[in-house]
Structures are given as structure tokens and as C-alpha cells.
């Protein structure tokens, strides 16, 4: 079991460019989560899917952030028109689902917006 896989590990974009982050959850896990990690805010919840369906996107900045899960083996987080304040580590996690709320995290993608 390779765990949750996130690519790329590091991404540098210029202000105003688009960034797409990829996540491959653990096989057999039905829930996929996206978090943003910063020193000041810690781990902020962004959104999550269960059985590929979006369940809760209450943490997503509405205007420039979007997430999709087109199949059970991967999810993407897209940030349009990136801004310097979007610089953070973006973590993906998966879990077995209902009643099994233990999250297994990937190593994250460090996004730097110049």
C-alpha cells in the first residue's frame, strides 16, 4: 500500500496563473479530503468527497478554488488566478468513510505563488 500520493510535491506559479494539484487516495477508501496547511492557520479544511460525490465544500474559497473527483482513484484541486496568499502546503487525505474518521494524509504539495 503506497499510501496517499500527491503530485507534484512542489509547484511554483506566477501571480495570476493556474495551479492544478493531484491526489491519488488509498485504494478502497471512499472519502477524500483536501486541507490547506499554513504556519498561522494550521490545517484548514477545504472540501471532501465521498464515493466521488462532493459532500462538503464549506472551506473552499468560492471564487478561484474548485475540486473534482472524476473517478475513485484520483482527485484534483484547481486554483485559478493564483495569488501570493494562496502559497501554502495543500494536503490530501483519504479515509474508509462512515464511522471510520481516521484520515490518512499524503505528503502534500507545496505551492509557491511568486
Amino acid at each position: 500500500n503506497a499510501g496517499v500520493i500527491q503530485t507534484p510535491r512542489h509547484k511554483v506559479t506566477g501571480k495570476g496563473q493556474e495551479a492544478t494539484l493531484w491526489c491519488e487516495p488509498i485504494s478502497g477508501h471512499s472519502a477524500v479530503f483536501w486541507y490547506r496547511q499554513t504556519i498561522v492557520q494550521g490545517l484548514e479544511f477545504l472540501t471532501y468527497f465521498r464515493n466521488q460525490a462532493p459532500i462538503d465544500d464549506s472551506g473552499m474559497p468560492k471564487e478561484r478554488f474548485s475540486a473534482q473527483m472524476p473517478n475513485q482513484s484520483h482527485s484534483t484541486l484547481k486554483i485559478q488566478s493564483t495569488q501570493p496568499q494562496d502559497s501554502a502546503v495543500y494536503l490530501c487525505a483519504s479515509s474508509l468513510g462512515w464511522g471510520q474518521n481516521t484520515l490518512y494524509f499524503g505528503a502534500g504539495t507545496r505551492l509557491s505563488v511568486l
Binding site: G3, G42, F45, Y48, L91, S95, N101, T102, A107, G108
Partner: protein, 114 residues
């Protein structure tokens, strides 16, 4: 809404001495699980311990925590820290009856010195 508070952003302890990392919470839910996650440098956060039972001590890797609903706390303790315990520690809660997402505190960076 639900929230988790970790009052210490940085804790420094000498090797061999005890440590307690504070975690308090607010939640409207009655069926809730509580977690401590540990993140070593350049690694993914991983589960350290988990509890949903009031007044029951939970232990793992020399760390222990007891959920006290009367004081809304889930402090993490260790009687004798090691240099290898230096890491970022996050406290979190999850509503077992509804959303599977975890709500994290701001995190506490533990530095163990020799």
C-alpha cells in the same frame, strides 16, 4: 460552529522531562471522536491516538490522552520526552454522526532539547 484550540504554538522541553500539550474544544455534537496527529519534518501528518470515550485514557508510543467532556479537553501528555518526539502536533475532532471531516487546532510545535 465546532472548533479546537491549542493555546501553545511552541513548546520547548528538555529530554527526559514530562510534557503536556493542551487541547480544548467546542462542539454541538454529542457523538464525537478526538484525535492527536503528529507531523515530523517533511513528512505527512499521521495519527498518534484517537478517543471517543469520556474519562478513558488512550495510549500510543508513550503518549497518552484522556478525553474529559466536563472540561472539553483532550490534552496530550508524555512522562519522559525524547529528542525524536520533536514534531508538530495537531489536535482534532470529528462528528461521528455526520460529516467525516476533521476539524483541527492550530498545532503545537514541540522541540525537545538535549
Amino acid at each position: 460552529g465546532d472548533s479546537v484550540t491549542q493555546t501553545e504554538g511552541l513548546v520547548t522541553v528538555t529530554e527526559g522531562l514530562p510534557v503536556m500539550l493542551n487541547c480544548t474544544y467546542q462542539t454541538a455534537y454529542s457523538d464525537v471522536a478526538f484525535f492527536w496527529y503528529v507531523q515530523y519534518l517533511n513528512e505527512a501528518p499521521k495519527l498518534l491516538l484517537r478517543s471517543s470515550t469520556d474519562n478513558k485514557r488512550t495510549e500510543h508510543q508513550g503518549f497518552h490522552a484522556t478525553l474529559h467532556k466536563s472540561s472539553s479537553s483532550f490534552h496530550l501528555q508524555k512522562s519522559s520526552v525524547q529528542l525524536s518526539d520533536s514534531a508538530l502536533y495537531y489536535c482534532a475532532l470529528s462528528d461521528l454522526g455526520g460529516s467525516a471531516k476533521l476539524i483541527f487546532g492550530e498545532g503545537t510545535k514541540l522541540t525537545v532539547s538535549s
